[in-house]
Amino acid sequence: MSKEHQPGMSLIVRTITRLTVGLIVLYGIYIVSHGHVSPGGGFAGGVIIALSFVHLMLAYGKDLALQKLPKGVSSFFESMGAILFLSLALLGFTGGYFFLNFISKGQPFRLFSAGIIPLANIAISLKVGAGLFAIFIALVILKFESEK
């Protein structure tokens, strides 16, 4: 964190990263969207999506990772996830109760079922993913006073 390293790691690590980062994001999206039929859900899927960007940062250096997901975009997604979750809870007031499950519940084990739970999972995964990536970026780009 203090000295000037050559950004990124060796050639083997960079090649494998290039092949697998997209698959990791896809796997994270799968876990988020099937949160109501199999284990996982918003938090676990959000962590996997964030980790794919951190993987990119570890292998190529922070400049490339910031180019793929700039700081402004990640902070926008973070606030958007939180506001989406709160408005989902407030929409329950149309049925009379805070946080009520107001969409029809459907049949079990299908993808479009279980009321507001899939939407809540998506909102949580946005917030957790963007938030975790922002934590890593904030810890990495901190400029020490001794280096300025």
């Binding site: 506001i83 109760y97 805070f98």
Partner: protein, 502 residues
């Protein structure tokens, strides 16, 4: 469900919505964060004052979140003690957020301050209104983590060290609370507080599990409330935070997260036995005496106020642990009064630091002529905390001492009087060195603080003057007596709550 109970979730929704909106919008427009922050806290004050009226007409209100009936779902309960705490928390938070408009202008990013402040307020409101044990833990953690970030807000050397000590000790306290919740769940297999009290009473818990959970909760909540063996983080954390945050920490957090949660869990869920009462009496008296003895030799103004916080929390615990209705009334009334005058004292020290740039008493002097509003409000607050009639501190201390004498605990009443006399001596020193006497040499040009800070301090002083009104028989029955009844009835409160569901 009573349609009037729809007011209960608003206490958590409004600050959360304010926090998320502030973090979304206010990065682009500078002045929006002030507006959102103050409108949110003003709305909360109005709703909490309305909740007193609703509670007096309808009785206990229970709200089931998401239409799941307790004990399966989470229940939000508004009883006498919850109304009392909600009014205290929100009124003090509004006045402090009014003060912070001008004080935080020195720091670079004000929108971060308001986001964290509103998150902390949502957490504190959530702790007070919830009726579910794990929900209490989650809201406690939200408020605690937000307050760590606020203590370290200035990112200077001392702030970071104090925030680290606060974080480690507070996380240890949270771990003990979680262990206690695990033990209680494994025995009763429910997380709803009222249900758990009923099951513990009928199933007949063995002495071992009650003793272990009581000790774990005493350690955990004692670390949050800064009772005496667990107080070591407070003299470092409270002076290093910016002045509005010191006032929030000392005025509301150690009471809402510490004393209120301790009372709720130990008295309404587990049930208070004679040994635990004795332990609480000893801890309270130790806090009173140790706090005030350590405060006498201090020359840093905010560190002196932090040690006095420890001492006054000892008064509250002493009052509540006496067990008689008069003692509980004294303890709760002192909790309300201490929020008001201690917040005012910290805001005054913040105003002094804003104007002179120093916190050391030896470098100040003769400021009464140049800063009349700050000086007179500081005089009123000092007379309140020392217990001089007719300010509000006098009434609550008198009730606690009379209750201790009536209950036959003369030794504890003696220490309460000694602590009160030493508090008076300590604040006489503060007033003399800061406001009266000759002007300090290297102080430069001193002006009075800006308008919003003066308004906030004056409203606090007005509440200090009129605090005795809460003891008039008509007002007493609607505000303080229901809270006393909740603590006095102990486990039977759970039966009333179970009856009001659905």
């Amino acid at each position: 469900m009573n349609p009037a109970a729809n007011i209960i979730p608003l206490f958590v929704i409004i600050p959360l919505a304010g926090a998320f909106l502030t973090s979304f919008i206010a990065k682009r427009f500078r002045c929006v964060s002030d507006v959102i922050g103050n409108i949110t806290t003003l709305a909360l004050v109005i709703i909490s004052l309305w909740a007193i009226k609703i509670f007096n007409t309808h009785g206990i209100l229970v709200y089931s979140v998401g239409a799941w009936k307790p004990p399966i779902g989470i229940a939000l309960v508004l009883d006498g003690l919850a109304v009392f705490m909600v009014v205290t928390v929100n009124v003090v938070a509004f006045l402090i957020s009014l003060f912070a408009i001008d004080y935080m202008a020195k720091f670079t990013s004000k929108w971060k301050f308001y986001t964290l402040f509103l998150l902390m307020l949502a957490g504190m409101n959530g702790v007070v209104i919830t009726g579910d044990l794990f929900n209490l833990f989650v809201f406690l953690e939200i408020a605690f983590v937000a307050s760590i970030a606020l203590v370290a807000f200035g990112t200077g050397k001392h702030e970071l060290e104090a925030a680290f000590k606060y974080a480690v000790m507070g996380t240890l306290g949270s771990l003990f609370i979680l262990l206690g919740i695990v033990f209680l769940y494994s025995f009763t297999s429910t997380l709803n507080m009222a249900d758990m009290a009923v099951i513990l009473a009928t199933k007949g818990a063995g002495k071992n599990i009650i003793a272990m959970t009581t000790v774990l909760f005493l350690m955990g909540f004692g670390l949050k409330a800064a009772l005496v063996p667990f107080h070591a983080w407070l003299p470092d954390a409270h002076p290093s935070a910016p002045a509005p945050i010191s006032a929030m920490l000392s005025g509301i957090i150690i009471k809402s997260l510490g004393i209120y949660a301790l009372c709720r869990v130990l008295i309404n869920v587990i049930g208070l036995t004679a040994e635990v009462q004795h332990i609480l009496l000893i801890l309270g008296t130790l806090s009173m005496v140790v706090g005030v003895f350590l405060a006498i030799g201090q020359w840093d103004l905010k560190r002196l106020l932090a040690y006095h916080s420890i001492s006054q929390i000892g008064y509250v615990v002493l009052g509540i642990a006496l067990g008689t209705p008069l003692g509980i009334l004294g303890g709760l009334f002192h909790l309300f009064n201490h929020s008001i005058f201690k917040s005012l004292l910290f805001l005054n020290s913040g105003a002094l630091e804003y104007a002179t740039g120093t916190r050391d008493l030896k470098h100040m002097g003769g400021l009464m002529k140049k800063m009349p509003v700050t000086g007179s409000t500081n005089l009123i607050a000092s007379m309140s905390i020392a217990g001089i009639p007719p300010f509000n501190g006098f009434w609550s201390k008198l009730i606690i001492i009379i209750a201790a004498v009536q209950a036959g605990q003369l030794w504890y009443a003696f220490w309460a009087v000694v602590a009160s006399v030493l508090t008076l001596a300590s604040f006489t020193k503060v007033m003399k060195y800061a406001y009266f006497g000759k002007m300090g040499k290297d102080l430069g040009d001193i002006k009075e603080v800006p308008l919003t800070m003066r308004i906030s301090m004056s409203i606090f002083a007005l509440l200090c003057l009129c605090g005795g009104i809460l003891l008039i028989p008509g007002v007493l029955d609607s505000f303080l007596i229901p809270a006393v009844m909740v603590i006095k009835s102990g486990i039977t409160q759970a039966l009333i709550v179970m009856g009001s569901i659905g």
